[in-house]
């Protein structure tokens, strides 16, 4: 393996397989967000929360590269995987246009996911908009592992909230919207301090500025709480050979590969100022 510049552990690629998966459900969740169910028993069995998939959205070479999506649901019994995504460009538009019976190639599971607490714990999931994607899977796994789960679900507006009712896991939910169209009016960090007092570990996914703010709060809490964040980077491959997905994790020269050492990183490993200085992944 390429010597990672940052001394962070790397994912086990030996678990990944590349399969043609049949689309078994296409769900329009409104406001440009979708949930897609894919028949892919092998990956459904292997995936762990926070890991991701590389989806080839079209047999034609436009778009050329696969698109990374967090595993949103993995049902080994049904042999299915779910992804939750927003339409932001040509690749996600193609995905939203798929119909039941279409086939897409899916490579996974990839990356390092969230770490589950060894024993009973009080987990807090903080989701910003589409950043909710990894949490249905994570929340079920946490519950199954005996943890209590509180989901802080934030979005700009009600239509952009992940429909937590689809979860099927016993979670407490706090809803926050910027326009107040559902739940508390505000942003997740407005209510986070209160929730932190009842949490042993925090899992977050969302826009970088939100993650940085969450990290600051977790670190400065009266009792600092361990935080893991899922990050995004433009990806060439998803499996560590293009070296395209570098993320700043230390001083100026310390970079980690999002696809192998991430996408989930401990908050303290991240170089937040450098991360915030990057252009958003969706323009690269």
């Amino acid at each position: 393996m390429s010597r990672p510049v940052a001394a962070l552990p790397a994912s086990d690629l030996g678990r990944a397989v590349d399969r043609s998966a049949r689309v078994s459900q296409v769900l329009d969740l409104g406001a440009g967000s979708w949930e897609l169910t894919l028949e892919c028993p092998e990956i459904a069995t292997r995936a762990r929360p926070g890991e991701f998939l590389q989806v080839q959205v079209d047999p034609a070479p436009v778009p050329l590269l696969r698109r990374p999506f967090s595993v949103c649901r993995a049902d080994p019994a049904a042999g299915t995987l779910g992804i939750y995504f927003g339409v932001t460009g040509i690749g996600t538009a193609r995905l939203a246009g798929l119909t039941v019976g279409d086939e897409v190639r899916v490579l996974g599971p990839l990356g390092r996911g969230y770490s589950l607490p060894p024993g009973p714990a009080r987990a807090l999931c903080v989701a910003g908009g589409l950043g909710a994607a990894p949490f249905p899977f994570l929340a079920r796994a946490l519950s199954a592992a005996g943890a209590t789960v509180h989901w802080l679900n934030g979005a700009a507006t009600a239509g952009r909230l992940y429909p937590v009712e689809r979860l099927g896991a016993p979670v407490d939910v706090t809803v926050v919207t910027q326009d107040g169209s559902r739940g508390v009016r505000g942003v997740v960090t407005d209510v986070l301090p209160d929730l932190l007092t009842a949490a042993d570990r925090v899992y977050a996914c969302g826009p970088n500025p939100m993650l940085a703010a969450v990290a600051a709060l977790c670190a400065s809490a009266p009792t600092p709480v361990a935080l893991e964040v899922s990050l995004e980077a433009p990806m060439g491959c998803g499996f560590g050979t293009c070296l395209g997905c570098a993320l700043p994790v230390g001083g100026p020269e310390a970079l980690a590969l999002c696809c192998r050492q991430g996408p989930v990183l401990a908050a303290e490993a991240v170089d937040w100022p450098a991360l915030l200085a990057l252009p958003p992944a969706h323009v690269a």
Partner: protein, 323 residues
């Protein structure tokens, strides 16, 4: 051209100085790491060769992000030669390669001639290193251009490296030149055993939202992928006319048909690059497709596919492109 009499294909390709690839389909530098990642995903031992990530005298952290950006049927990269340095490659990676069936050719980059020489010296005679591929598309501080953009600078670099190593030496050419044939001829005369054609094309992507290039620094990156295939084919054909040493074709190959097209214009072997990102098994599928085609067509050597002189099929003038 259908196979009437049974013929047996010799799939091997001799790149010179003892470097004989088991088959003509390798994987391109910078798209396959040092072979270890993909080892876990696909049967890399069946490949014709692995061309490693560009390796420099000392370790390099690479460029700051973002480093890759998609374009229509292509991608730009500005990785900045992130690599662990030649010492780690020679002492840690090569011993593992020594047990592999697939030949590993180390792609070499440096900022100046002493740097290139230092890297190839360190690799000389190291078991597991099947050869070196010299990436001369690196900024040549003295001239303001890349070594590969100036036939004389390229030749000087290759001569120095040639003296420093007995290893099979493949020189990887930059396509960002007025006449790639002239560069090819210069490096062949300077002692290259073979040439790889081509490295990436200088490209740029703009973010309209940010009103600036997407990639950092100058904003330029190297364009690869299907978009460049017609350019790479033209470059290979030009180089084939300019030199008689083996030519390794690379640029936009996704399928066996693509690879076979490179053989038609004179390539002896090929490398699959960006296609691996779309499909980790791409190179193996290209190989299998080429073998199936060879069997169906009764090829005995890959060079059987070379374009014969074009018949003067119809009268009429022919001028250049863009017309």
């Amino acid at each position: 051209m259908t196979a009437a009499a049974p013929a047996t294909l010799d799939p091997r390709v001799d790149l010179g100085r003892g470097l004989v690839l088991p088959n003509p389909v390798g994987v391109a530098s910078g798209t396959f790491g040092y072979g270890f990642e993909l080892e876990q995903l696909v049967d890399i031992q069946r490949l014709g060769a692995i061309f490693s990530k560009g390796t420099t005298p000392r370790s390099r952290p690479g460029n700051r992000p973002p480093r890759v950006a998609e374009t229509t049927a292509g991608m730009l990269n500005a990785i900045g030669l992130q690599n662990p340095g030649v010492e780690a490659v020679a002492s840690e990676y090569a011993p593992r390669w020594a047990g592999w069936r697939v030949p590993v050719v180390v792609n070499v980059a440096a900022e100046d001639i002493p740097g290139y020489v230092a890297v190839v010296r360190r690799l000389a005679g190291v078991p597991g290193v099947a050869g070196v591929e010299l990436n001369i598309s690196c900024p040549n501080i003295a001239h303001g251009l890349d070594f590969g953009q100036d036939p004389q600078a390229a030749a000087r670099c290759v001569e120095a490296v040639r003296r420093a190593t007995p290893a099979p030496l493949i020189v990887k050419l930059s396509p960002n030149v007025t006449d790639i044939g002239a560069v090819a001829a210069a490096v062949a005369a300077a002692g290259a055993d073979a040439v790889s054609v081509v490295n990436t094309y200088l490209g740029l992507k703009v973010s309209l939202a940010l009103r600036r290039p997407v990639l950092p620094g100058a904003g330029t990156g190297g364009l690869s992928g299907p978009a460049i295939k017609p350019l790479a084919l033209a470059a290979v054909r030009r180089v084939r006319q300019a030199v008689s040493i083996p030519v390794v074709g690379v640029g936009g190959i996704q399928t066996a048909a693509d690879a076979l097209e490179f053989f038609v214009v004179g390539a002896d072997a090929v490398q699959v690059g960006t296609a691996t990102f779309r499909n980790p098994a791409a190179a193996l599928e290209v190989l299998d497709g080429c073998l199936a085609y060879a069997a169906a067509q009764g090829l005995r050597r890959w060079t059987d596919l070379r374009a014969t002189a074009r018949p003067a099929d119809a009268p009429g003038p022919t001028v250049g492109p863009g017309a």
